[in-house]
């Protein structure tokens, strides 16, 4: 194992190299020591998560290609950033995702079928954010960082910070989102109110077609300095480092020591969504270069080298991933279409005169077709 040390300014915190070499520990500029002390069982668990999350994502992409889902925003390439941070969350911690955090969703114990109702267009897609401590997907860029800010203020008000078992909040967003006023305002508020909030930016190098240079002139993690709290850049393709850095930031927050900005440096290997064609704006060699930094390959190389896992284990994980994705597919295809009248549900909890009248008329209108060939 390489010894490690402090990364020079601007470099990544890394605990597992792309070749699968373990680095024992890394000391951040503020003296925080990042290390990953996992049991063999835990290492294998992380590998399993990564493989399953990738496989489920590929299945969703395939379902979209076959016309079974309306749209899909793939996480391909960002598995380590999501599993690392997702597993670093403690049960009491609250997460605010974008629309791409399928890996975090999985780590929160949410059935991956749940968001697919939305993308298949049969329901709004839904889980109870309070039960799973994972908010709804947010697609208006940046809005969730302010939701998280207010939520974190609520956590503080409830006196849930300041101890080892305190609650922390994590807000996910992309590099593009950092240009939104909302996100910068969230930074200011979380800083001023010393909120228990971790800003987790997955810098996947693109915002649809726009490369990082369109959003910033300095490394994103350094923005935190101007807002008065620590910022750190981690290798987002390294599940161990992402876990260690996120865990430390969450614990810092839960102890009442305020926010942290984490920039998980990664790459969106696929299209922005299934509506997008990335060959219009980026070259193949760039994608290939990132292929060499694959988040799963390096864990496998490490597990093999250290003899933590054998061929039977890898085969069994692949088998499980296949099973789960097949199960997902079957359930997607069986999703029933919603009854038209449900469109009036949940606009207001106890109805409202205008909506109630429309619902009545709609039921009558539908009934007028009953029995006709319409």
């Amino acid at each position: 194992m390489a010894k490690g040390g402090s990364p020079p300014d601007g470099e990544l915190v890394q605990l597992l190299t792309p070749e699968g070499e373990r680095i024992e520990s890394v000391t951040g500029s503020d003296g925080t020591v990042y290390r990953a002390d996992f049991t063999d069982e835990e290492y294998r668990g992380l590998y399993r998560d990564l493989v399953i999350v990738r496989k489920l994502d590929a299945e969703a992409t395939a379902l979209q290609r076959q016309g079974e889902l309306g749209i899909w925003a793939s996480l391909l390439g960002q598995e380590a950033a999501q599993v690392g941070s997702g597993r670093a969350l403690r049960p009491q911690d609250m997460a605010f995702p974008t629309y791409r955090e399928h890996g975090v969703l999985y780590c929160r114990g949410i059935d991956p079928i749940m968001p697919l109702g939305l993308f298949r267009g049969v329901d709004q897609g839904g889980w109870d954010p309070n039960e799973f401590k994972f908010n709804m997907y947010t697609i208006v860029i940046g809005a969730q960082t302010l939701h998280a800010t207010g939520y974190a203020m609520g956590v503080t008000m409830d006196g849930k910070t300041g101890t080892d078992d305190g609650e922390a909040v994590i807000a996910y967003f992309g590099d593009g989102a950092t240009s939104q006023g909302d996100v910068n305002e969230a930074f200011i508020w979380a800083g001023v109110f010393n909120s228990p909030l971790v800003f987790f930016c997955q810098n996947n190098q693109y915002a649809i077609s726009e490369p990082l240079e369109r959003q910033t002139r300095i490394p994103l993690y350094r923005r935190a300095g101007g807002f008065g709290f620590p910022g750190i850049r981690v290798d987002g393709n390294d599940v161990l480092a992402t876990y260690a850095v996120t865990r430390a930031a969450l614990d810092h927050a839960r102890l009442g020591q305020g926010p942290t900005l984490i920039e998980a440096y990664t790459y969106r290997m696929g299209a922005h969504t299934t509506n997008d064609d990335p060959t219009r704006y980026r070259i193949a060699s760039e994608v290939e270069a990132w292929q060499a930094k694959d988040p799963i390959k390096r864990v496998r190389a490490f597990l093999e080298r250290e003899q933590i896992a054998d061929a039977a284990f890898f085969a069994e994980v692949d088998e499980q991933a296949k099973r789960e994705s097949l199960h997902l597919r079957e359930r997607v295809l069986e999703m029933p279409d919603p009854a038209p009248v449900t469109m009036f549900d949940n606009v207001y909890p106890n109805g409202s005169p205008l909506v109630d009248k429309e619902r009545e008329r709609f039921v009558e209108y539908q009934a007028s077709f009953e029995g006709s060939a319409h």
Partner: protein
């Protein structure tokens, strides 16, 4: 009938957007475009395809992701004599830059006693029918309608996209220009080079005698389909494409109602506070004696747009619903 049309005479609504902008950019070097993904990528809806190649980064500004900055900076740029054409990717996100749309831009001339104008266009992909859900599908022309000082265009055909774009960019008033997502793939004749459609001139797109259907953008096509069905029943519907909400061409509407004595509006926005409410109130006020039957408004249900296509289809007005509404006023 003129000779056979060649492919070259036809253009999609989508391509008409870029064509309309390009024509003005060639004509007037002060026109610039700004927005997210509008450069080399040609826009997420390909409505700016080719502009970056022709006009380069000096006039096509791919911006960071911030709607406030896009619209706020467009206003500042306009103060220097530049004519910005700002894109907000989805009209739903006009809400992200509402201060500039509601408080700043429309008030500049008024609050400077007429000394400063901000000639700019805010273009945006609007409307539903594509299953994009509650936050990417709304028809929000009526949001802009609440604000005196803005002009509002919402074309229904490729030729009108080009003609209204020319007027919008040349206008010294700020114009919010709604491009309907559901119409991007539709085709129509490519208008000649000097094609300009004046803002605030509605078009009678189908003549009729029994009822006036007033529609905008996508609903023009809904109204035309309804008129076809009604014709089979012996009901003659006149269809007015409003084209713009501000200026609202009430002269054309009142003239049509004078002829048909019946009025139905077809709106994609929710029924509550839709543009038809304003239009109808004026017709009732100024043309009450012209009417032989109650006025009906066919609009979307007062609910957020569902992601589910099966439900979305029920929320948005259909030709069937228009036909039903027309029958009720014709049989009154």
């Amino acid at each position: 009938m003129a000779g056979v049309k060649t492919d070259q005479d036809v253009i999609t609504y989508r391509a008409a957007v870029a064509e309309g902008i390009a024509r003005e950019m060639r004509r007037d070097p002060s026109v610039v475009c700004l927005g997210e993904d509008i450069g080399g990528a040609g826009g997420v809806f390909k409505t700016t395809a080719g502009l970056f190649e022709e006009f380069g980064p000096g006039r096509i500004w791919d911006t960071p992701i911030s709607e406030q900055a896009i619209v706020g900076a467009a206003m500042g740029a306009a103060m220097t004599g530049v004519r910005p054409v700002a894109e907000i990717m989805f009209s739903d996100f006009l809400a992200c830059c509402w201060d500039y749309l509601a408080n700043e831009i429309p008030k500049v001339r008024y609050m400077t006693g007429g000394q400063v104008t901000v000639p700019l266009v805010i273009r945006t992909a609007n409307g539903g029918g594509l299953g994009f859900g509650a936050q990417h599908s709304q028809a929000v022309e009526n949001w802009a309608l609440t604000i005196p000082g803005l002009k509002i265009a919402a074309p229904a055909t490729p030729a009108d996209v080009i003609g209204l774009m020319a007027s919008a960019i040349r206008s010294d008033d700020p114009v919010v220009f709604f491009e309907h997502k559901g119409l991007f793939a539709s085709k129509g004749p490519l208008p000649p080079d000097d094609h300009v459609v004046e803002l605030g001139k509605a078009a009678v797109v189908r003549e009729g005698t029994d009822v006036t259907l007033v529609a905008l953008a996508s609903t023009v096509h809904t109204a035309l389909a309804a008129a076809d069905t009604l014709a089979d029943d012996g009901v003659s519907a006149e269809v007015v494409d409003l084209r713009c909400l501000i200026p609202m061409d009430l002269t054309t509407v009142l003239a049509s109602v004078g002829k048909t004595s019946r009025l139905v509006t077809v709106e994609e926005n929710p029924h509550q506070a839709g543009w038809g409410a304003t239009l109808v109130s004026v017709v009732v006020d100024e043309g009450f004696e012209l009417l032989d039957a109650p006025v009906r408004r066919v609009a979307s249900a007062n609910v957020p747009l569902p992601f589910a296509d099966a439900l979305e289809d029920e929320v948005i007005p259909t030709a069937d619903k228009v036909v039903a509404a027309v029958r009720s006023v014709v049989n009154y």
